[in-house]
């Protein structure tokens, strides 16, 4: 028994050290975002003199015209929240009718949704730009460089996996509940919103986590739909644009990366349990 406890302590120590090594890059960002460029060049591993420089750098990034941090943060939040919200709504609705209406059409459409997942983004990206351009010039609906265009694009790219996840979950929800509600005189469309949607909560969490993390951090789609240096830009675009505009001013670049990753890391601390569960459930389905 004593030997076993010792083994556990050794394992605890090893794991702790591995964790410190794993977090080393974040530590390096933190200490060097708290220095001036000259100090970084002199010694990138020394501790900063004071935290004052960090605050100073953060303020400089916040106000810097080349990164437009506040407006980029705002755009990232708007795009992520709206895209994920709409995805949850339209995917659960589609999955529900595809699951409940047993017909050949349902089967074929479901297979279409699932089959599309194999098509990588790179195959769509080039024609997507010219297609959005065609739509924009012929109808006047702003598809490129606009919130509408990018949110719509995320709906399209997110729908296959989301429909698939909802479909798998709804299959296991007993039909009796919905039938009882229908008999009680509830209109069928309302049954979905009043009865089914609340039951879907666990899978909604998974869908939110998977899509939210992807959309928040995505770079390539915003790059081609919004473009670098556009009025509306997400945080990854803003950071990339900022890095491109400077010759290696690492103090500011590192501060910008630190500020770009902080919102997600803080959110993660609060909803950790859901994120880890959601990511695993999404993969295992």
């Amino acid at each position: 028994m004593k030997k076993k406890r010792l083994t556990i302590w050794i394992l605890e120590a090893i794991t702790f050290i591995v964790m410190l090594i794993f977090l080393l890059p974040i530590y390096l960002v933190l200490i060097n975002a708290s220095k001036s460029n000259i100090m970084i060049a002199a010694d990138p591993v020394s501790l900063p003199d004071s935290l004052g420089v960090l605050i100073d750098n953060v303020v400089r990034i916040w106000n810097h015209p080349n990164i437009r941090f506040p407006s980029s943060l705002f755009s990232s939040v708007i795009i992520t929240v709206l895209s994920v919200g709409l995805l949850v709504l339209i995917s659960s609705m589609a999955a529900w009718v595809l699951c409940r209406r047993k017909s050949r059409v349902s089967t074929v459409l479901f297979l279409l949704f699932v089959g599309i997942m194999i098509v990588p983004f790179q195959v769509i990206m080039l024609p997507l730009v010219s297609w959005f351009n065609i739509v924009q010039t012929s109808t006047g609906i702003p598809m490129l460089k606009s919130y509408l265009g990018i949110i719509f694009a995320y709906m399209g790219f997110g729908v296959p996996l989301s429909v698939f996840l909802f479909h798998g979950f709804i299959k296991s929800v007993p039909l009796e509940l919905e039938e009882a509600a229908t008999i009680d005189g509830c209109a069928k469309g309302l049954v979905f919103f009043r009865i089914v949607l609340p039951i879907l909560k666990p899978i909604i969490v998974t869908v939110i986590v998977l899509n939210g993390l992807w959309i928040w951090n995505d770079f390539l789609l915003p790059l081609i739909v919004l473009g670098l240096g556009n009025e509306i830009q997400t945080l990854p675009l803003a950071v990339s644009n900022f890095v491109g505009s400077f010759v290696k001013k690492w103090d500011l670049i590192l501060t910008s990366t630190l500020m770009a990753m902080t919102p997600m890391l803080i959110l993660f601390i609060f909803v950790q349990k859901y994120v880890l569960k959601g990511m695993v459930d999404g993969a295992l389905k």
Binding site: P25, I90, L126, V280
Partner: protein
């Protein structure tokens, strides 16, 4: 049972999702097949149908793509290996009854919350300014071999924590009683690993291989921000960028060199390659899963 009202509801509920799918994926996908058969440059009004010429041109006189293809294979192989080894190692550590288990898991997962682009810049700093600060360390991003290694290390750091969580879920599904019984019967740790853990985590192994493999092939963000394809090297008598993976090569062909037709032809080759690789991988893993 199927009344007209039901059909209307069916259509109304399905339409938003289906319309998004058609407009955002299916139409561009079909357009893409057409573009790959033309000489369109992405901007001009003249579009000439050239048949399979783009595809032939890629194989005949585009060393950059052939190199990108080969280096993507090498990168994918190394990355799948590194990600899964690290992930299994971490999973075995954090499934012991440690005091801070939840903290460890969260910390190992955390890099996954940082986007590949931001993360690439951070590691560019680490390789160029921190590691090379020590004279005995190499300039990782300056030489082809070490630049590829640097890319693998960076993407492993990002992805291993996520894959670890899938292995953790698998290991935890192994019933404790089974392990205790084996221990009672005198099975050594390696035997328990081989005969109990391994078969039981085989299914998650398939998933993790699939996820890490497809994500390696699609890698773009870390690639563009860490090395941007560099350093320069020579291949088949032409100057190419050594760590430029397929996705980045396609992007530059279409948007920087204005060869939309050729870029799209590359994208379609990429699509078929991904299809073949992932189907083969799942087929073989599934087969082994049954045998194990």
């Amino acid at each position: 049972m199927k009344t007209r009202k039901d059909t209307l509801l069916f259509i109304a509920f399905l339409l938003p999702a289906l319309a998004s799918l058609v407009v955002v994926i299916i139409i561009p996908f079909l357009m893409g097949i057409y573009y790959s058969l033309t000489d369109w440059n992405g901007v001009s009004k003249t579009v000439n149908f050239v048949g399979l010429q783009n595809y032939l041109a890629i194989f005949q006189r585009d060393p950059s793509f052939i190199h990108a293809f080969l280096i993507t294979l090498a990168y994918a192989f190394l990355n799948v290996l590194a990600v899964n080894l690290v992930a299994i190692g971490l999973a075995l550590l954090v499934t012991n009854r440690l005091k801070l288990t939840n903290v460890y898991r969260a910390a190992f997962f955390a890099p996954n919350l940082i986007g590949g682009l931001v993360l690439g810049y951070i590691w560019q700093f680490i390789y160029n300014n921190v590691i090379s600060f020590y004279d005995f360390m190499p300039q990782m991003l300056a030489k082809p071999g070490t630049a590829l290694a640097a890319t693998v290390i960076t993407s492993t750091w990002q992805y291993a924590g996520y894959i670890m969580m899938i292995y953790v879920a698998a290991i935890q599904s192994v019933p404790e009683s089974l392990l205790e019984a084996a221990e009672m019967d005198g099975a050594t740790y390696s035997k328990r690993f081989r005969y109990i853990f391994f078969p039981m985590i085989a299914q998650s192994f398939t998933i993790c291989m699939f996820l890490s493999l497809t994500s390696s092939f699609k890698q773009f963000d870390v690639n563009i921000s860490l090395t941007n394809g560099g350093p320069a090297a020579s291949f088949m008598g032409e100057s190419i960028r050594f760590t430029e993976l397929m996705a980045l090569n396609i992007y530059y062909t279409a948007f920087s060199y204005n060869k939309m037709g050729e870029g799209q032809a590359k994208a379609i080759i990429f699509f078929f390659l991904l299809l073949v690789v992932s189907v083969t991988q799942v087929y073989f893993s599934k087969k082994r899963e049954v045998e194990a």
